[in-house]
């Protein structure tokens, strides 16, 4: 198996590095790639920063590990290769009446990546994260292959959950699917003029909805700071459909209709253009609407409609700042938005969600409380300092940043935010004693053994 040299960056298009990219199609080829280091697996490159990069080493694309078993209708499970994307999976399962138990804001992630980042979705407050719905997976480690379940080796199972690839390369996984009657989502929408209003509504009402997310405007100041559009819903039953939807109750997700063909100069997305976009988004939403039917794509993956939208941020790239804090520190959400708006940092609509309890993973990101995620273009000179200050505030509140989004956290802050990282390293030492597995991210935050 021969590879090629490629300059790789994350979705944010910052800090690219050169690596030998190989694309094994068999388990023997995976074992061959893991025989020496440094090496790390990569899926569709949707992590914003550097976890799927390995400067001067080998990056193992998991896209050659592609197979789908038939859906086991009795148990509602399916076994898939780690390189299968959620998009490819949903094209098969939705017409059969099954949805993935957890989906992030894009379908363009692989199952292997979903495990390595232990992704979460709009239903975390009720259903937990991706790994809560993985029955088992097969993992290639430098010491050999192993099938892992929560019972067979809980240490390895949970270290792999959100372990950013440090325990090995996921070969395939058996996922527990969610039965659905239709591919439509019944959505209640509500607009709030300020942050307190939307947070109060979420704290009291989210338990009544499987899915909930608020889009918060981080660029308005004063009394309307943090105005928001809250959308909450659940899969619609057949009885709720009429017209076109009733004739085709189980439609697979649509392919992207638009594409950003080139990278425009940095600065196209600036305070002015982003403010205008946020304003339009807010005005477009109804003040209050109940039980509207949305397609799966438009509700779960609105940005998937535009291929390569990350190019819009220009050659300098962008980053996403996502943190979680517990319920006792909900004020950090307000502080973060205030800091960004008072420092004139242009930021797209931020995503605010409720989290349920985290899982046993030593690098589990969620914690019962709040999570806020916001996209910021790289460029404003004050940005690095403002975000470093936010790190302090989040850490002080016992919160943490999401590694799948991070591209700038310091090693010291990582150690503070993830005090259980040593548990992951203990497992990594067991399955990778010579330390073959590492990435630009693990070197940056000091997650090495």
């Amino acid at each position: 198996m021969s590879g090629h040299q490629e300059l790789l960056a994350g979705w944010g298009n910052t800090a690219p590095s050169l690596a030998e990219v190989v694309r094994p199609r068999t388990e023997v080829e995976v074992a061959e790639a893991l025989a020496s280091g440094p090496v790390i697996a990569r899926g569709l490159g949707r992590s914003y920063g550097d976890p799927a990069q390995c400067a001067g080493g080998t990056v193992l694309s998991n896209r050659g590990l592609w197979h789908l078993s038939p859906i086991d209708l009795a148990t509602g499970t399916i076994t898939v290769g780690a390189g299968v994307s959620l998009d490819e999976l949903l094209r098969v399962t939705v017409p059969a009446g099954f949805f993935v138990a957890v989906t992030p804001g894009t379908r363009q992630v692989t199952v292997g990546g979903a495990i390595a980042a232990d992704i979460h979705g709009k239903n975390h407050h009720l259903d937990g994260s991706f790994m809560n719905h993985v029955a088992s997976f097969r993992l290639a480690t430098p010491l050999g292959e192993v099938t892992v379940t929560k019972d067979s080796d809980p240490g390895l199972f949970w270290a792999t959950a959100g372990g950013m690839g440090l325990t090995g390369v996921v070969l395939e996984a058996t996922l527990v699917l969610l039965p659905i009657e239709t591919s439509w989502v019944s959505v209640d929408t509500e607009r709030f003029e300020d942050l307190d209003g939307v947070m109060a509504a979420m704290a009291t009402g989210d338990a009544d909805y499987r899915y909930s997310v608020a889009w918060v405007d981080c660029m308005t100041e004063g009394p309307r700071m943090g105005r928001a559009v809250l959308t909450r819903g659940d899969h619609a039953p057949t009885s709720a459909l009429e017209g076109r939807a009733a004739r085709r109750p189980l439609e697979p997700p649509a392919a992207p209709r638009l594409m950003v063909p080139i990278t425009p100069p940095s600065g196209l997305l600036n305070r002015l253009s982003i403010s205008a976009f946020n304003e339009a988004w807010f005005r477009k939403a109804p003040k209050k609407a109940d039980a509207e039917l949305h397609s799966l794509s438009s509700f779960f993956h609105p940005l998937d409609g535009v291929d390569r939208w990350n190019r819009m941020h220009g050659p300098r790239g962008f980053l996403q700042y996502q943190f979680a804090v517990d319920d006792a520190h909900g004020e950090v959400v307000r502080t973060a938005i205030e800091r960004l708006s008072s420092n004139k940092v242009p930021s797209f609509l931020a995503v605010l969600k409720r989290f349920g309890p985290g899982n046993p993973g030593p690098l589990s990101f969620p914690m019962e409380g709040w999570t806020l995620a916001l996209d910021v273009p790289v460029g404003p000179p004050q940005l690095p300092g403002v975000l470093d200050q936010l790190d302090e505030i989040v850490a002080e509140a016992g919160g943490r940043l999401y590694l799948a989004k991070d591209s700038r956290l310091s090693a010291e802050m990582f150690a503070t935010m993830y005090p259980r990282a040593s548990e992951l390293l203990d497992v990594a030492r067991r399955v990778d004693p010579e330390g073959h597995l590492s990435s630009d991210l693990t070197r940056r935050v000091g997650l090495t053994h």
Binding site: L7, L18, G49, A55, L319, P384, S410, L441, R443
Partner: protein, 256 residues
Amino acid sequence: MRNAFGQPQSVLVLGGTSDIALAVLDRLCAQRTRTVVLAGRDEARLAAASERLLAAGATTVECVPMEASDPSSAPATIEAGLAAAGGRVDLVLVAASILTDQLEVEDDATATSQLFAINLTWPAAALAALRPRLLAQGAGQVAIISSVGGVLPRRDNYSYGATKAGLDFLGIGYGDSLRDAGVKVQVFRPGFVRSKMTTGLEEAPMTIDLDECADAIVAGLGSSAQVVWVPAKLRLVFGVMRHLPRPLFRFVASRR
């Protein structure tokens, strides 16, 4: 590793007692830089620089020997510097330089060849030794301190200017050669900076102090510019000056 803002965690400084380099490092250590390797000759000054950087936020400062007057020693310095940094380095700052009085070197073959060795031949050899290591590590950044003195030849510093013109030329081509390898190379062209190197010299227009210079270099390190003028307005000034007829330029330059 460099983060999304290009902030390095480890830095190798060639010319580790340079005022400009140390002022830049003060700022980098306040950000993400924890490991610094200083290559230099004067042990007492290197020790003082180490103390200063540890106070600024570095956790490890190592010193390696460097003899800039002997270009054949450059590969050994690069080897030792990378080893001291842990095998790989995020940023290499090329800052070794001397500024001589034009009247003292222009009739002196030995002094002139020494000036060229220190300012040009040694750095060129070091960059050549560094190149395969940068390719192998697949990421990194090189910052080369050139000078506006190398942009246009002037009566009163053409020898120094020639060394910087050579380094500047080399740096830009070197950057192109590493462009697709994940390595960013930048050439910085400071104007007149108040430092120990310029003590006693008559100040030029638009002279800046060390802090302004270091701030501009740190900001430049985070940019995608291949050539960074310090201060930025010098780019405009030289954009005009390079089109002046030579007799007019001589007149302007001699008036300063």
